[in-house]
């Protein structure tokens, strides 16, 4: 379960002064559901997700993730979250096996359980053949699998994906999309951000449109279609953004 309450983040920039990267964003997402944050570049998607993953601390407001407060119980939250983005790279000089082991150990999983779990994950993701190869020698697709294995090693109830398909080729992107779906089937709470409309249409149970740090519209695809009288998500997105910029 994820519950964001008035989540806000301000940065200070020398040239531009104070920037409200995220401005009082509230939403919630239930287990077995996929929540999609839809927004253009710089809309505040990454900052929001980083706050949920406790990588950044909110300036105001807070969020409950898997029942724990991201500000006061950050370590408990991190133990229950799998975070994946195109920015979360692998340690190139470690092998796939060592990479996943490292994160398993940091999660405090004991060695016998860790060994069993890694074996199971590697089998499911068909990674056995390259488990002893160094990460910097793997193809993009293989790297993605290692990243997925890393997020799964502690079997987290909450998954956070920050533009997970950005810059990936069609085939690799499909594995990720399939993986996100699988997380939902397993009853995990999933939140992911994207600026690709088709991806949001295909995957999300609930869509939140974020622009300039504010959550402008929220609902299921059907609700949004009804509210804005448009079939295409792209049209809906443009309408939402235009409407709010005209009447702030």
């Amino acid at each position: 379960m994820i519950k964001a309450q008035q989540l806000s983040k301000r940065f200070y920039d020398k040239k531009r002064g104070t920037i409200r990267a995220v401005d009082s964003v509230s939403f919630h997402c239930e287990p077995g559901q996929i929540y999609g944050l839809l927004g253009a570049n710089g809309a505040g998607k990454t900052t929001t997700l980083r706050m949920l993953a406790t990588i950044l601390e909110p300036t105001e407001g807070t969020a409950l993730v898997a029942g724990y407060d991201v500000v006061r119980q950050a370590e408990k939250v991190r133990a229950r979250v799998g975070f994946l983005s195109t920015a979360t790279a692998l340690y190139g000089r470690l092998t796939a096996q060592e990479m996943v082991e490292y994160f398993g150990r940091l999660h405090g999983i004991d060695e016998t359980l860790l060994e069993r779990r890694i074996e199971e994950i590697f089998r499911r993701l068909e990674m056995q053949e390259f488990c002893d190869r160094r990460c910097d020698q793997l193809s993009t697709g293989m790297k993605q699998k290692v990243s997925i294995a890393r997020t799964l090693v502690h079997d987290p109830p909450v998954m956070i994906f920050d533009e997970p398909t950005l810059g990936l080729d069609v085939m690799t992107a499909r594995t990720i999309v399939a993986f996100i779906r699988e997380c939902r089937t397993q009853g995990k709470t999933v939140i992911f951000s994207t600026h690709v409309m088709s991806e949001a249409e295909k995957l999300c149970d609930t869509i939140g449109v974020i622009h300039n740090g504010r959550l402008l519209a929220e609902g299921t695809l059907a609700e949004l279609r009804a509210r804005y009288g448009q079939q295409e998500l792209e049209e809906i997105f443009v309408r939402v953004v235009e409407e709010k910029t005209r009447r702030p």
Binding site: F83, A89, R93, L106, H107
Partner: protein, 402 residues
């Protein structure tokens, strides 16, 4: 505080770093191969060049002296120099190193001497040039000999003893132990090398573990793991410290091994001081120096980590750290300078204090009070550096600086 997590991070960073060619080169290859080769190589080369120059008979031009055949004859017969015919452009020839020196013998030199006047012989040289200096020394020696002989002759002519000019002899004898002599000559050099190597050894891992992680995009991956940021920085710090100490220890032992191996060569080269110049260092002195350097290694490792973390990329980190190199090397160099001695105020200057006290330890002198003061002050600086590094790792604007 979880030692387990720090240990996990440390073990991973160690594996990771040992697979990094740059770290391996700076941590193992440089100290093991390059250091002894360069330091001893340069020493051997310098000694060779000087030895070669000493063996040669430098070209010397004699000017004037046509009316002083006795002096000229003796000069020509000298084996240590080679006299060439006079030319008016002698000054240019010396500057161009075509000849090494010239000696100007005044007109009627022998006659003037005979009359008891005070003629002056002038030696023209290229100041600071090795072979010219050697030539000048030999000329001067020759003319001093000539002068002494003249004095003795005059005394004898007047029925006086020749020993009148030299009523007593002066000799020098070394009473300091070989350890002290060696320590005083090379003592400043070893701690200097140890400190500089602590820095160079720590440099690459410090950059690789911080700015390197940002550059490769792994910083976000590790930050979303449950490891606390303090544990993370301490694990990384331990790795940098390991590299720092390993580099330093490897360099010192390889230097020692080379010294022992090349002892005969060195003894041969330093023939004039062969009795005193024995590589006499007590093992306990080395141990004491390492103990004193330990907090400095901590200070440098933590400091480098904090600075490198601030950088966005490898390149940026290097540009911050290069001036820091100077900042560390400078006090270490000052300590090598002769005449700089330890006092209570200098005992509080980081790096410089340790170099100075290490210099004393090398000569076998242990100033326990200063050592305690220096160790304590270094520990304070080191603790401050660790604190700074930990604080830096908790700053979002540093971690996500773009």
């Amino acid at each position: 505080m979880s030692l387990r997590n720090i240990g996990i991070v440390y073990r991973k960073e160690l594996t990771d770093s040992l697979r990094d060619r740059r770290t391996l080169i700076s941590m193992i290859v440089v100290p093991l191969v390059l250091m002894p080769v360069t330091t001893i190589g340069i020493g051997v080369l310098t000694a060779k060049i000087i030895g070669q120059a000493m063996k040669e008979a430098p070209l010397v031009m004699a000017l004037g002296g046509e009316d002083s055949p006795g002096v000229m004859e003796k000069l020509r017969r000298l084996k240590t120099i080679h006299v060439v015919p006079a030319r008016p452009d002698f000054a240019n020839l010396i500057s161009d190193k075509k000849i090494r020196a010239a000696v100007e013998i005044p007109k009627g030199f022998e006659e003037a001497m005979g009359r008891g006047e005070l003629p002056t012989v002038q030696i023209d040289i290229y100041q600071g040039e090795l072979r010219s200096t050697i030539a000048a020394q030999r000329l001067e020696q020759f003319f001093r000999g000539l002068r002494d002989a003249e004095v003795r002759e005059r005394l004898v002519a007047r029925g006086l003893s020749g020993s009148l000019v030299k009523p007593f002899e002066i000799t020098e004898k070394n009473v300091a132990s070989p350890e002290k002599v060696f320590g005083n000559t090379f003592g400043a050099l070893l701690p200097y090398l140890v400190i500089v190597l602590c820095l160079t050894g720590a440099m690459y891992p410090a950059i690789d573990l911080t700015a390197g992680e940002k550059e490769r995009g792994t910083i976000e991956t590790i930050l979303c793991s449950p490891v606390g940021r303090t544990h993370l920085v301490l694990g990384k710090f331990l790795m940098v410290l390991t590299a720092s100490l390993a580099t330093s220890a490897l360099a010192t032992s390889s230097m020692a091994a080379t010294f022992l191996g090349a002892r005969e060569v060195l003894a041969g080269l330093a023939r004039d001081q062969s009795n005193t110049l024995r590589a006499a260092v007590h093992p306990s002195a080395i141990l004491a120096i390492f103990l004193m350097v330990l907090p400095i290694a901590v200070l440098l490792s933590a400091g480098l980590l904090a600075i490198a973390l601030f950088a966005k990329s490898y390149k940026e980190a290097q540009s911050y750290i290069s001036p820091l190199m100077l900042l560390v090397i400078l006090p270490a160099v000052v300590a090598v300078l002769p005449g700089v001695e330890l006092n209570a105020r200098l005992a509080l200057v980081p790096v410089l204090n340790t170099s100075l006290v290490a210099k004393e330890i090398m000569t076998g002198t242990y100033h326990w009070k200063y050592m305690a003061l220096i160790f304590a002050s270094s520990c304070v600086y080191a603790a401050a550096a660790i604190f700074l590094a930990v604080k830096m790792f908790q700053r979002e604007d540093v971690l996500f600086r773009t």
